[in-house]
């Protein structure tokens, strides 16, 4: 039951914030400062999420095979590889490093 409560709260909350973003009146968004901010916020959030998912295990910072995988993804991006290949590079290199590290 506890898990269903958590799922319900998360589903309602996450849908609500998605909708709120879409419903905010357009007039508010015509100010240049707001436009700049709305463009920069995803940059900040994605950067923080990338770093956390790579270098964090729960609330502890770690350096493991995922870092090598992310580096591989970075190289693939520099080489302008398609999206699927970028992700595949990260997964394969991570698995490879773990296999070698035993």
């Amino acid at each position: 039951m506890n898990i269903w409560i958590a799922i319900g709260l998360t589903a309602v909350g996450c849908y609500a914030v998605k909708l709120i973003g879409l419903l905010i009146p357009a007039g508010l968004l015509e100010r240049p400062l707001v436009q700049r901010l709305a463009a920069l916020l995803p940059v900040a959030l994605l950067a923080a999420l990338t770093a956390q998912q790579t270098f964090a295990d729960g609330r502890v910072l770690v350096l493991d095979a995922k870092a090598a995988g992310l580096a591989a993804a970075g190289v693939a991006l520099l080489l302008r590889a398609p999206f699927l290949l970028v992700v595949a590079a990260a997964v394969l290199v991570t698995a490879g490093v773990r296999a070698m590290a035993g």
Partner: protein, 243 residues
């Protein structure tokens, strides 16, 4: 500057959108495996993908529940991670210019990937195509692969051994790369990384990402101060010099 006519064929937009939708959609498999491995039932796992549909929040919720967190703290962490979608929605409502009646239906698809694809498009038509194709492909595949992952969790064993946990950050990096063109954007990204990692050990789950979002207004503020001092000549943030 972006060309006036846009000049991007619909087929190219659809191809880009499918690339993102398929790649990310397939990673629902990793979520299905992780969720059942964390002790959720098949039904609970599928409900999360159908109803929450924002990967980072789903992973956060499952992780918190597996760690023995109470449902309210777990949901709060997942919710905090989801708040970024409100900012994406702000930007998207401008670009998509959807009729009000359609917005409640489009809302569920407002996530990192659809935003990234939509933002990369030159015209309103291609923004709408990109958003719709990415949203639809991703929603269908993400839910399908969640189910498959949940069913196959026992057979897979340790997902980390397969490197599946690297898929998430690689997806985020691929989405982020085209958004970083100017010095301002690089500084924002750098500061966000420092905040996101630095605060992780000291703040509750989900909160460091929100604090890291403050990098955006902070850098804009600093930029405004500098401009006020040196005069309006500074212009390192001209948009769209193409990649």
């Amino acid at each position: 500057m972006r060309s006036e006519d846009g000049g991007k064929p619909d087929a190219a937009v659809v191809r880009d959108a499918l690339g993102v939708g398929v790649a990310v959609g397939l990673s629902g498999f990793a979520f299905g495996v992780t969720s059942v491995g964390s002790g959720l039932t098949l039904l609970q796992t599928c409900a999360l993908s159908l109803l929450v549909f924002t990967g980072a929040s789903q992973f956060a919720l499952v992780g918190a529940l597996a760690g023995g967190g109470n449902p309210f703290t777990a949901a709060a962490g997942a919710f905090f991670l989801g708040v970024r979608n409100a900012f994406y929605g702000l930007r998207l409502s401008q670009l998509l210019a959807l009729p009000r009646a359609v917005r409640p239906f489009a809302a569920q698809w407002v996530i990192d990937e659809t935003t990234a694809v939509a933002l990369a498009q030159p015209t309103r038509r291609s923004v709408r195509i990109g958003f719709t194709v990415t949203g639809l492909t991703l929603y269908v595949l993400w839910n399908l692969t969640t189910l498959l992952g949940a069913l196959g969790a026992d057979a897979i064993g340790d997902t980390d051994a397969w490197g599946l946990d690297a898929a998430g950050p690689a997806v985020f990096l691929a989405l982020l790369a085209p958004m970083i063109k100017t010095t301002t954007e690089r500084v924002v990204a750098g500061l966000a990384v420092v905040l996101g990692l630095g605060l992780l050990p000291v703040l509750p789950a989900g909160v460091p990402v929100l604090v890291a979002a403050l990098a955006a207004p902070a850098v804009l503020w600093a930029e405004g101060r500098r401009r006020a001092r040196t005069g309006p000549a500074e212009d390192d943030d001209t948009v769209g010099e193409g990649r």
